[in-house]
Each structure stands twice: as structure tokens, then as C-alpha cells.
Symmetry: C2
Amino acid sequence: MRLDELPPRENFNDWYNEIVEKAGLTDKRYPIKGMNVWTPYGWKIMQAIDSLIRREFDSTGHDEVNFPTLIPETEFAKEAEHIKGFGKDVYWVTHAGENELDVPLLLRPTSETAMYPMFSLWIRSHSDLPMKIYQIVSTFRYETKQTRAFIRVREIHFFESHTAHRDFEDAEAQIKEDLDILGRLMKNLCLPYMIHRRPDWDKFAGAYYSLGIDTFMEGKILQIGSIHQYRNNFAIPYEIKYEDERGEHHYVHQTTFGMSERLLGAIIGIHGDKHGLILPPAIAPYQVVIVPIPKKGHQEKVYEECGKVGEKLKSAGFRVHIDDRDLRPGNKYYYWEIRGVPVRLEMGLRDIEKGEVVLFRRDEMKKKSVKIENLNEEVVSLLADIERNLYERAERKMQGRIVEADELSDLDMYSAPDILQVKWCGEEACGIRMEEITGMSVLGTSEPEEKAEGECPICGKNAVKYVYLAKTY
Amino acid sequence: MRLDELPPRENFNDWYNEIVEKAGLTDKRYPIKGMNVWTPYGWKIMQAIDSLIRREFDSTGHDEVNFPTLIPETEFAKEAEHIKGFGKDVYWVTHAGENELDVPLLLRPTSETAMYPMFSLWIRSHSDLPMKIYQIVSTFRYETKQTRAFIRVREIHFFESHTAHRDFEDAEAQIKEDLDILGRLMKNLCLPYMIHRRPDWDKFAGAYYSLGIDTFMEGKILQIGSIHQYRNNFAIPYEIKYEDERGEHHYVHQTTFGMSERLLGAIIGIHGDKHGLILPPAIAPYQVVIVPIPKKGHQEKVYEECGKVGEKLKSAGFRVHIDDRDLRPGNKYYYWEIRGVPVRLEMGLRDIEKGEVVLFRRDEMKKKSVKIENLNEEVVSLLADIERNLYERAERKMQGRIVEADELSDLDMYSAPDILQVKWCGEEACGIRMEEITGMSVLGTSEPEEKAEGECPICGKNAVKYVYLAKTY
């Protein structure tokens, strides 16, 4: 095991493809391209992310459910925009055993068309509203682009919440709650983000409007989630109606909030360095790994003290692992660095004699000695500091890549900035022309919208707002 | 909401079909037969069962993984017996988007053929062994028989552990560990069980031998899990080999242990009564539900005291819910009885004045008053007693239905016992004849095997062991 096995971080694609396997997150050799195996360490991290998501949604009155994986074509086809948007991406089950099915079934690419036939049975009266449910499941998309672990895969570990409301305003209030949830979650995952209201030509199939949750990774924007306002676009074809207090019937208004294993992809790509992963403390399977530094003739003493320190930390609620393998400490350091453990605790005979341990923080690769009597408080504050530091340095990096451009025609002449802020008249034709000139995608307007004064660089008419462009994954 | 909405328990099939929906466990109206929606309360219970399973397997050195849902036909076809056994039951994905796939994919009916190509990459040396992994996922079987929620469905919530070992003996030791795990789990789930070594004509496709985990529900045997010894039957076609200490290469020996949502089906069907579900305390989403008994002019006082008692129980680690809905207490009783909450706590003004609460146990439908100062200890011992009582009364019922039969020809003349114990020569022909005569299935021999002395009632030759027969789900 040697450091130089990892490609340099500068070769980002190579580095990423290697690190996901070297850190024990996934195995890409499964015999279907884009469908990977979650190996134990990767699955533990994903489950920790899922736990944070569950905590947020449970505590805001959402109920967890679990819908079937398959959807009949007849249900899928009910919302015209939706099938147009997804029809080319789905896997079709046409046979069962030796029989051809009367109605083909598809593997859900997302669950609107699975859930909404049931919503129309579940929702009868205003007292059933709001209805707020979520699930964490596999979804499936027949990706034709190059696949990449956690970022672009064909079986996707997916979170989706679906809500139904009595009117548009109540659905809008849900979206505000979703944004609050997102803010708390992203702090824990140390992921800076921007909210962009997608332009009409890029919204979700069937949505009234779509908010993209965008983060920044290695020069490009990575969408790590989305929130959609459906208005009653699905309620009409799926006949989801309620009776109000006066006996009148209305269609519900609906929203969804989706996130996926891309969260993990973003954590890997944004925080990782030449030594490997750096995991946010909230989702690290082990927050502290203890490495005993044995000395000949004193092994037992050292292991015993490490055990005591481990118990002390565990009983304070930390996730702790004592690495007692018969390996040299240096190899253990390398092993846990590549896996991104936030804090390593080293302890040798001299430390014990001084009543101290050495704490090594992975984000800064720095050591410091602390008194064992203060250990719990030191670890609390170190983990909090790592969380803050990871978030802030990624946030600074992202913000530093946003540049306002007045003249798009100049762009190809200098090394283009990663994220462009441009004044926009709001016309689709101008937005699409901006994409053509820059070779970037319009991310949309920021949410809430920023007013702009001046001229749209395409048509020269009055600009009304700012629009953002970037290359995207 | 009235009691008489539930069919009588005597009409077991009707009762079962109704209770699963009335108790909020599932919705069977999803537009694919046999693929049901897990509604919030049912999903919470299943997740609690999953947590118990994870605790057992994590603490015995198994690593959780997550494999893709789809398997290429080419991998599936490698083990001849296996494809023969499952080929007729699988769902085939033949198209993606508008393309026909070169290699059809199938939805896993179980994961041997997904996992073992990876095992052959992961296992190199004796130091990689034993390898012990598990996953909790959806599996799919195209059932042609009548479906029934949790018992016979087409998308199955499934647990499966897969292990690889250096030799047959080490794999046998794993099966012993599995049986220990099973024993602990079944105590928590209050499910009595029998282990039967299935006859050769009924073992798992590809197995060297199969142990069925059988419980007894309403006159029939329900298989709630199985443990298989594969020997090297899969290792050979999938080329799973290791190098031993002397540099020689050997095929690994493998085992699997599988359980499914049938565990929940068994809990419903075995413990439930005319009032609804009865949940084992270990998996009840709420172990205690508090129902305030308000009195005019004293509502606030009663709710305040209920809140205090609730906090006291929560901080002692119980899962507690205070039902503060604006409903009559009687309606709340009915609501939580049908959902099987183990303990209801009732508290009115008179109780408060006496420093007491009323505890109602769902298994016996009995009340008793206890002092608030002793509440935590009372609830601990009450929950333990409910767990013991549920297990023991189901165990007694099952054992009471086993009858030794010397003359199979008499059987159709009296009301046949549910589980037959019969002396057997061990010949397949005699076993199959027993099935024909009784209209029952051979469950197999008990594990460990019970020796018998006397005659096989079919061929009259010397019997060597006992075999069990019953009707099965």
C-alpha cells in the first residue's frame, strides 16, 4: 500500500475513479455498466446520510413509505409531459417467466406515477391535507452518457418526498420548509450550494417550476437535488381531489423534493485531496480511529490504555474504532487517511506517561497533543471545527468562481471563469443563445431572484434579472 | 370506527386480508397485483425488524453491502440447477428506452448470481476467508399462486446473508452461528419455530442441503426463512477460489441465510386476535401509548401530567406516544388496539390524585393500576412479560398440533392433526407417497435429526428417522 498508487488530484477524473474504489466505497466491476456494488464502507456512509435525511423529514411531519419498484405503462403514460421527459430513459419489463405481460412494466425512474394513483385514493377531504410522505429507494435510468460512480449511474440510490396541499400557497410554504431542511442538511454534509430556478426549457417533466440544488465541483456545477412545484399538473390527470369545508371539490397542489447518492459523489469530489477522502464528521462511519503506537516490551500497556480511551470516547457518543491490526502505524495512517476518517488518535508509551494523546485532523493534516482528562471536550470542538472548516473552504472556493460577465463574446478569448453571472432580459431565445456562445448551460436565476439593471448582452434590451451559466456534470 | 368492521378471526383469510389494511400496514390497491405499498405504520414495523436483524449480523462480523437489482442473463445461467429452479419465476427486462438489450437483464429473485461473480474477484487468499456479507433489499418473483400481503408477494422485502469459507466444516460452523442468531431473533419477534432439513426433492436450487425455518400459523406451516449449505456448488461455476498457506488453490464453500417480510406476516397471523394486531414489544413503533382521560374543567391538568409521565418513560428509553387527538378515549383505545400497541397507559384526574396510572396490556386485554413512582420498573417488567407470554403461548399452540401417526391410511377418517410426525425409512419414493396419501407436504427431518425405531408406514422396512408433514402456505 503506497501513496503513489493514487493518481494526482489534478487529474480529477482519474483520481475520482480510483478513490471511490481505493477507499472501499464501491466496486465498479459488476457486469452491468453503471450499476455498481455498494461495498461495506461506502454503504455505511450512504446509510449515515440517509439517517440525517430521515431525521429531518421525520421531524417535519413527513411519513416514510415504500412503494413498489415497478410501474404499469398505463399509469406512467397519464401525464403527457412526464412520459415525454422520461420515456427514453426507462427500463422495460416485458416478460415474466415465459409469458409476455399484457401491460409492460417499467422500473421507476422517479415515483410520481407510482404514487399518485394511490394519492387519489388516500385524499378525500381537506382534513387529509397537507399529506407529506417520503421514501428512500432505488430508481433506474438508462443513461447513455458516460457513467461515473455516484454521479451518473443507472441504478440510483434516491430520496424523494412528495406532498399534497389544498392550494398553491400552501405548496409554496412547503417549498420554504424544504429549503430550511436543505440548509441544515448541507451544513452537516459540509456542502455549499446555490438554488437556481431552472429556465422553462430545462424544468422537470410535468413541473410548474423546478429549483435546482447546485454545488460546485472541480470547475463544473453538480446538481445534487431538486425541488419541484407541480401546481395541479399531476392532480388533474391522476384525479387527486379533496372536498373543502363547504363541500366543494378541488384539485390538490403538489411538490416534490429529490436527492440522491450524488450527495456522496459531491462529498468525495469537493473535499477529497491527494491523500484520499475527507469525510464530514456527521456521516463518518468512524469519527475517531485510535492507532496504538506500541513499543517493544510495553505493547500490552499501550493497548490497554488505548482501550480505555476508546471506551471513554464511545460512552460520550462518538463513533470510534481501535485499529489493533498487526500492521505498522504508518500503514494504518495511510489506510484511514484514504478513507477520510476526520480524526486519528495516536497513543504511545510517552503519551501515556504524560497523560496525553495526539489528535490528528484529516482536513488540515495537522497534529496536536491534548490532555486525556480534556479529551471529550477536545474531540467535540475538533469535530465541530472540521465541519465548519470543510464547509467554509468549499463555500469560499465556489463563491470565488462566480464572475459577472458583460460581454459574452469575449469569453472564449481568456480562460473562462467557471460560473458566469449575466444580465438577462428573460427571453428564452437569449438564454439559449448564451448557452451556444459559452458552451455552458443556463442554470437559471437564483432563488430568490436578483434584479439586474443594464442590458441583456444578447438582444441589448433591458435586463430584468441575473442568470447563471456553467458547465455541468 | 367500530369493532364489527373486522371479520371474525375464525374466518382467517378474510380477517388477515382486512387487518393488514385496517392496522395501517399496507395498501393492496396498487395497480400491480402482489406488489403492495408499505404504508407508514407497516414500514416502521418492518424497519424495526430490519434493525434487529442488522444488530445480530453486525455483531457477528457480517458486513452490510448493497448489490444492483438487475442481473445479466449470462451470469444467471451459470449454475444449471439454479436457473432451472428460478427461471420460470423471474421478471425480464428486455428493453431500455427504445433499444432492445443485447443481453436481457432480470430482476433478482435472490442474489447468488449477482454476488458470486464479485466473490470471485474479492477472494484471493485464505486470509480473505471467511467472507461474511449481507444485504436487505427488494427481490422479485413472478408468483402465479394467489397472493397475500407479506406472505406471498411479487416484490419481496428480503434479507440475505452470504458467506464463503475455506472448507465444508467452516461453512457448517457458520450454519451453527446462523442458528444461534435465529434463536435470539425469534425470541424478540415472539415466533416459535422448527428447523427442518428439507428433503432432497425440495431443497433450494443449487444447494447441497437446505434448512427450512418453519413456524405454525392457523393450521398450516409457514416457512419464514431458510439456511442453505452450498458446499462448492456455486464456487465451481463462478470460479471462486483461494490460495491456501501452501500455495494450493481450492474452491470455497458457501452458505446463505434468508428471511423476508414473511416474518411480519407470521407476527400478524400468529399473535393477532379479534381486536387486531398484537405486536412484540421489540418491534412495536410505540411500546406505550398514553391516553389522557380528561374531565371537564381539568383537561389541562390531565394533559400536563400525561406529558410528564411520557417524558419520564421516553427518557428511560421506551418508545412512547401521547395520543392528544380530540377524540373520545374509547375511540383511541380501539385505534391502538387494532394497531397492536403492547401497552396502553390511561390517566385521569382520580389516578393523578392517587399518584397512579392504569396500564393495559394488549396481549391479555387486562388492566392494572400502578404507582407512578414505580412506573419505569413496572413497564420494563410488563413488556418482558408480554414478550414471554406471546412466545410461550404460540409455542404451546404449535407443539400441541404435532401428532405422531403410525398409520397414514387412517388420516382422512378423523379430523387430521396439523403437523404429522412419521417414522421414515429415508427413501424419496416413500416420502412422496406420504405426501400423496395425506395431501400434505414433507417438511423434512428435524435438525438435529431424531432417530426412530419401528417401521416406515409406506414400505414396511426399518425406519431410521422421523419425518414431518403439514399443509404449507
